[in-house]
Amino acid sequence: MMHQSVSVTDSSLSIRGLQLSFGAVQVLHDVSMEIGRGEFIVLLGGSGSGKSTILNCIAGLLDVSDGQIFINGRNVTWEEPKDRGIGMVFQSYALYPQMTVRGNLAFGLKNAKLPKDEIARRIDRAARILQIEDYLDRKPGALSGGQRQRVAIGRALVRDVDLFLFDEPLSNLDAKLRAELRVEIKRLHEKLGNTMVYVTHDQIEAMTLASRIALLRHGVIQQFDTPDEIYRRPVNLYVAGFIGSPSMNFLKGRIEGEDFVFNSHRIPLAGYDGRPRDGEAILGVRPEHTGFRTGTDGVTAKVELQEHMGAESVIHLSLDGQRFALRTPDDTHIPEGTTLSLTFDISRASLFDPQSELRL
């Protein structure tokens, strides 16, 4: 299923000028988003960025201070959560402990007074999709973390809604299970084609799942774009530093004509994707976009430490006293103190204005 391009008229979820304050503390600043049908949106950010807050506002679990929320073109800003046509999956699973898995799945449907056979049909379908048929009659306490999270997803699934909300659903799982369920959520999305809004602080989840990522900081959307755009053309220093591991390297210098001048080194900017102008600037280069060979010409740096990861390695360098990391598929050992000559892939680098921190 294709869900890359979005037109505003076709939006499944629309958030307009959302503001939220608790007393004097403003938590969300004018958050607006247009989300198309079938998109997989990831709200990404550190703790306190407001990502979960936005999700709770969409769900109707928090009252907004200002702004509107539309789901399928309908203004739901002041509707009860149950009337918004959403399903929600929580970090702690939030399964009702006294009810069986079947009871958990049926609970919302019974509240909505659906006929019995319809409830049974939906539970069967969800159980089949999520492969939880074998433990429908167990209580949540008797399930493993992964199984519980499947049930929690199932509870959203049976509601037969267009919009799924995920609040850090994989954070409580161990690394291996997390990777497995990540793939499953992706498959589920492709199979169902619902709109999904997914909150996480894990950039790998964001990069692999999202059709678009909204990167948040202090309740402000920094960039709302496809994972590829965010990776390639981060709009500002914060986004550039947040995405990627190890983080992007930043070199302070100035732009003079066609070159970036940095500690008496001149780096030609030919092939740069953007419009640099003369003046102070910061050059951002990702560790994986830096090449090297042993040598003492051009930009040089001394090896301080090498992290071996089997398939690849990260080399930590000192570049004129500044820290610099580079990533290479080559895992051969390079002794500490070796001087390396570095080359930068300027076509994939970013330049930032040091004052406004925006990309040039």
């Binding site: 009252d63 509107q68 203004n75 800003t77 002041w78 009860e80």
Partner: protein, 300 residues
Amino acid sequence: MAKTSASGRPSRLFRNLNAKIAAIPMILTACVVFVGFSAWTILHSFTKSRLLPKLDFVGTAQYERLWASDKWLISIQNLVLFGICMLVFSFVIGFLLACLLDQKIRFEGMFRTILLYPFALSFVVTGVIWQWILNPDFGVQSIIRGMGWESFTFDPLNNGRIVMFGVVIAALWQGTGFVMVLLLAGLRGIDDEIWKASRVDGIPAWKTYLLVIVPMLRPVFVTTLVIVTAGIVKVYDLVVAQTGGGPGISSEVPAKYVYDQMFLNQNLGQGFAASTMMLLTVAIIIIPWAYLEFGGRKRG
């Protein structure tokens, strides 16, 4: 669920309406009983109400009479004496017992059960039991005399000068276990690594308790102190059951004074003034504590 205004935003009043309805008993209790009734009593303590409450103000006349009354002065003296003895002994004994029980001993549960069971009993029961044990003709005094010490005299319940100690003995029997349990819970809340660190440093156990543990237990001590003190101010049933305020008026306490004035002597104004003084006493204890405990950090 909520009514919606033209702008789409529901009015504040109807938001969470069910929660507000459900909280009505709480709101009524807080506003009517705790605030309203207290204010009513304070207001009427400035009137000359006798058999019935009347808003016939007489300024501070009731308080002047109160502080001129022998019975009230003795009540206050007794309360202070009782309070100091209770606090000192219940904390010293309670803390020592808590430390003993904290020594990884066997049968800890049994000892704890025995030391706390009196707390489950009514003050009336406690008062009656100790009235019997301190009975001069059959109790402790007669037994020790019977053992050959003919001149031994310990008859607090019939001797106005020491009657309060008889009450203290009973109150300690009932209340020390409570102090012990709270302090023991505090001791158990202390990180095991403190003990490891002090053993590595070679500090003797008693010194660790005194110099490290006690300061760490400060919040538990303070909270326990507040609860015990608030209980002391209210002491009533124990005195009624054990001594009836006697001999004479020598074991009167403020709470009993209030009850007697209100319900036996038809002297409501005195009762209101006396109970307002009790409120004042509690306020003097509670306000600094609440300030220390909750004032520093805004709503937790």
